[in-house]
Symmetry: C2
């Protein structure tokens, strides 16, 4: 299980846009953003397309056009960005890659499904709790504080 470059690049792009001014300031061209962040330009364009369709960023067409965040960075979470760039955060096998029609039908008593549901909830809760603002101060990031090893008792 891993994060693809879709999400990784989307985050880099979103953070970049969060740093460059807000709505008022001039929009950032995809090309320029890609150069500064040293990412493949054409790919960045594709990604911005997805982010726009998901409502994470907005765009201005024509010369002097470009992109900017659609909302305040504090109101956009990593979960939002990931859900925009991939089609979801955590894909539920039972729905999209069912092992077996019988076994995976929502009515059947599958012993495994609750595990994936629980996992999905954990992932969404966590990613949904990290706003972009959390990523603007470079070093610390979200809770690398003590937090030794509580036994996952929720």
């Amino acid at each position: 299980m891993r994060i693809t470059t879709w999400t990784e690049y989307s985050l880099i792009i979103s953070i970049h846009l969060a740093k460059r001014g807000r709505r008022g300031a001039s929009p950032v061209a995809a090309r320029e953003l890609a150069e500064v962040e040293r990412l493949p330009a054409d790919y960045v364009e594709q990604i911005l397309l997805r982010l726009r369709r998901a409502g994470i960023v907005e765009s201005v067409r024509g010369a002097k056009g470009g992109y900017f965040l659609a909302r305040e960075p504090g109101l956009i979470t990593v979960r939002d960005v990931m859900a925009a760039s991939e089609h979801q955060t955590f894909e539920m096998n039972c729905d999209t890659h069912p092992v077996d029609a019988d076994r995976c039908s929502p009515s059947s008593a599958c012993a495994i499904r609750p595990v994936w549901q629980g996992l999905q909830r954990r992932i969404d809760d966590f990613l949904g709790s990290v706003p972009l603002t959390e990523l603007l101060r470079d070093e610390p990031g979200p809770e690398l504080v003590p937090l030794t090893s509580s036994p996952a008792s929720s």
Copy 2:
């Protein structure tokens, strides 16, 4: 982000073995297990191979041979099974698919890495908290109890 059939089948297989007796009982042949669970036989064999190498199951060769769980089902977690079948639970991009040597070097101050580290910990904690025994009683599964929506404050 999703779970592959490697893990899904591994769980089905592990649960099956947990239900069929323990060390004392006669081992279960891969072929038979595959038939009962309606999984592709050759594939099941591949998976059992991985599970054995990871120490989740043990095997008996020759006629009347087969597989059985290496440990008590209570001592094997979903995390163990997933780590055995895929090579890890959650792959850290920074290590295996670095965006950029500079950006992703462990010494550089990457704003994103802590998010993935936090996510990894959440995933491992949760999956590590679900033993196979939890999956033997079919219906309920792990905590589909109330648990409405605590704001991911760990």
